[in-house]
């Protein structure tokens, strides 16, 4: 026993003398971490994100490498799974920051995971750019936390003003998932803005959790309230069923959705006839001139058109790589400062910059589904 005791003490003392050093200036290799729901019920987002990463890697390879001030730097992307569980997101962030020593992190795709992971990245001074964490609290976690998408209040507000001003409808009903951060956030934003501009919310119905598949009871209540439009701020796993059951229960009014509908699968799964004429807000239009090249390149890699999370992942990666090139020092602080002065043309539109709350100034677009495909309707600037 005594021997063991002495041995352990000696080991402790020896280890204490280990010194670690930091490399400065331009390194030979830069590691960039990304995290998302590779498995779990939102696995489609993770799949889209991994394709976006593949596209970024391909673009770097096509350009003959990544250069900072003329020096070639190897960029390595390291992906981690969050399963959509907050504690695993924290572990993923810890691993990326402390084990892999990444310069910055892209993702996570949902707000909850991003907020949880931000506690680690903010404390470690590692910039993190969420691709689709739309909840307003995400970037409030600290000055190293950015996002590539718009925020829920803006999306809710734009949906409200489009319904009231462009469609001229004043009676709206809402069905939302009260177990979900994103869905609840949009519902509250929409409700508030729609009332503020003189609209009337005739019915608010909730369900709890993505596992709920039967909305007949809620939809019966909505039908009885006789709305002119139904706002459905729900994820891709619920929305198609809601729309189908709405039609099956004889609710024929237009539906208005959110950016998580921005997948071709949404239209296929829902049935084109059920979503004919439906509107939704999103960050970019695949028809737009600025997005054409990106959509084609993505399709070549993934075999499918990009979903919103894939597109935003790509933009987050673009923003980050640009900031790394411009950064005065290649470390967390340098990249953070460079991110704040971002001014970039991206698939979603020209001159994307970050405001003081680290949210991008991107216009939103409203799309309408006609003949089984989403078509561009209008662009609304966030100020309005």
């Amino acid at each position: 026993m005594k021997k063991l005791f002495v041995l352990l003490l000696v080991v402790c003392c020896l280890l204490g003398s280990v010194v670690n050093s930091f490399a400065k200036d331009i390194p030979d290799e830069i590691k960039i971490g990304w995290m998302g729901t590779i498995s779990g019920s939102q696995a489609i987002d993770g799949w889209n994100m991994s394709n976006a990463i593949k596209l970024l890697e391909k673009e770097i390879a096509d350009a003959g490498g990544f250069f900072i001030d003329g020096k070639e730097v190897k960029i390595t992307f390291i992906g981690e799974d969050t399963e959509g569980k907050n504690d695993l997101a924290v572990n993923a962030a810890q691993k990326l920051v402390n084990q892999d020593g990444v310069l910055a992190i892209l993702g996570a795709n949902n707000s909850g995971d991003t907020i949880a992971a931000a506690q680690i990245t903010q404390a470690a001074g590692v910039p993190q750019i969420s691709n689709t964490g739309t909840n307003i609290r995400v970037t409030q976690q600290g000055d190293y936390i950015f996002r590539a998408c718009f925020i829920d209040p803006v999306q809710g507000k734009i949906a409200a003003s489009f319904i009231k001003n462009e469609l001229g409808m004043t009676k709206a009903a809402i069905i939302y998932d009260n177990a979900d951060t994103y869905s609840t956030g949009l519902k509250e934003a929409f409700e508030e803005s729609f009332k503020a501009i003189g609209g009337e919310i005739v019915e608010v119905q909730a369900f709890s959790g993505a596992d709920v598949k039967d909305y007949s009871a809620q939809l019966t209540n909505i039908k009885a309230a006789n709305p002119e439009v139904v706002y459905v701020p729900c994820h891709i796993d619920n929305s198609p069923l809601i729309v189908q059951q709405m039609r099956a229960n004889g609710i024929d009014v237009p539906v208005f959705g959110c950016e998580s509908w921005d997948y071709q699968q949404f239209i296929d799964v829902s049935g084109a006839e059920n979503v004919e004429g439906a509107y939704y807000t999103t960050g970019f239009s695949q028809d737009a001139e600025s997005a054409k090249d990106f959509v084609a390149a993505f399709e070549e890699i993934a075999g499918e058109r990009p979903g919103f999370s894939g597109a935003m992942m790509y933009e987050a990666g673009k923003i980050l790589l640009d900031a790394i090139q411009r950064a005065e020092t290649i470390d967390g602080e340098g990249v953070r400062d460079a991110l704040m002065t971002t001014n970039l043309d991206l698939p979603s539109g020209p001159n994307v910059t970050f405001d003081e709350n680290r949210n991008p100034t991107k216009a939103m677009v409203v799309l309408q589904i006609t003949d089984g495909a989403a078509h561009y309707v209008t662009t609304i600037a966030p100020e309005n």
């Binding site: 498995s39 993770g46 009260n178 709920v212 598949k213 007949s216 009871a217 809620q218 019966t220 891709i236």
Partner: protein, 300 residues
């Protein structure tokens, strides 16, 4: 009143799916006293089997009742065989141990199956549209919308319950099942092949889960690899509320579960999920052995 009746119909529609799933749950439990936590995944496997059967055999179009029945049989057989295989490798070696070991093994199998399906390229993480086996047609009777397909499903689950009840009460295999459920060792001594009986139970249980998967996919046509997880739990609760081990109880429990869920969602949507659990817990507190379960007398 019409609205209440309408909700009742919705509840029955949802309940019929729980009921079919709960039958399998309750049979497995009745015979080997095992909580099969991956039973919901049989539903997932079954609905994917339907998906592939329809897209390979018929292309992606509405098929008639006869072809639909064929697809159901195919999916039931495939899933039933998978169920028998899983029982053979993951549960049979555990039969002599505490029931909870098989439950944990089942959780492991569930994780394995769900994630393996996610990785297999032609299944993948993306949601898929389930093919409609039958076209929906809505008829209105006295202000209540009735969906033909749902009525077929409700009747079908009652018919299956009847057939199974008959099989268990009147055939040789059924008698063996009851004997094994009563006393495994004694029935082995009396000449029943316990392994075969358990395999048969798993085949029927998984096959029924597949059929309920087909109906489920017909009504909620979005297929994902995680679709079975919560459904399995609800079926488990239905089976327990009805009195676990009893087929009639499972059907009754399933319908009660569906109706409670719909009615509560209609009145208090914010809290529905929690309240339906409370209602079921209250039922259990007043009737601890389940609605149709017989109180078991423990002998020392």
């Amino acid at each position: 009143m019409a609205r209440f009746l309408q909700l009742l119909v919705f509840g029955l529609q949802l309940g019929s799916i729980y009921a079919l799933l709960a039958i399998g749950y309750t049979m497995v439990f009745g015979i080997i006293r095992m909580i099969n936590m991956m039973h919901g995944d049989f539903l997932m496997i079954g609905s994917y089997a339907v998906y592939f059967a329809v897209s390979l055999l018929f292309g992606n179009q509405l098929i008639g009742p006869a072809a639909a029945l064929l697809v159901l049989m195919i999916s039931g057989t495939v899933t039933g065989s998978i169920g028998v295989g899983i029982e053979r490798f993951a549960y049979r070696p555990l039969r002599s141990r505490a029931p909870i070991s098989s439950m944990i093994s089942a959780i492991g199998v569930g994780l394995f199956v769900e994630n393996l399906f996610r990785i297999i390229p032609f299944i993948g993480p993306n949601p898929r549209t389930a093919p409609k086996l039958m076209a929906d047609k809505i008829i209105t009777v006295g202000g209540v919308d009735l969906n033909i397909v749902s009525i077929v499903v409700i009747l079908f689950s009652l018919v299956i319950m009847g057939i199974l009840y008959y099989v268990i009460q009147n055939t040789k295999i059924g008698m063996q099942m009851r004997a094994v459920a009563c006393d495994k060792d004694a029935s082995a001594l009396m000449g029943s092949n316990v392994d075969n009986v358990v395999s048969a139970t798993f085949f029927i249980g998984a096959g029924l889960a597949a059929i309920s998967g087909a109906f489920y996919a017909n009504r909620y046509p979005v297929l994902t690899v995680t679709m079975g997880a919560t459904l399995g739990n609800k079926a488990f609760i239905s089976a327990v509320v009805g009195g676990i081990g009893d087929i009639r109880g499972a059907v009754l429990g399933g319908f009660i579960m569906g109706i409670v869920e719909i009615l509560v969602s209609s009145v208090l949507p914010d809290l529905a999920y929690g309240i339906s659990f409370i209602v079921l817990v209250i039922i259990l507190l007043f009737k601890p052995e389940g609605l149709l379960g017989k109180p078991q007398i423990e002998k020392v």
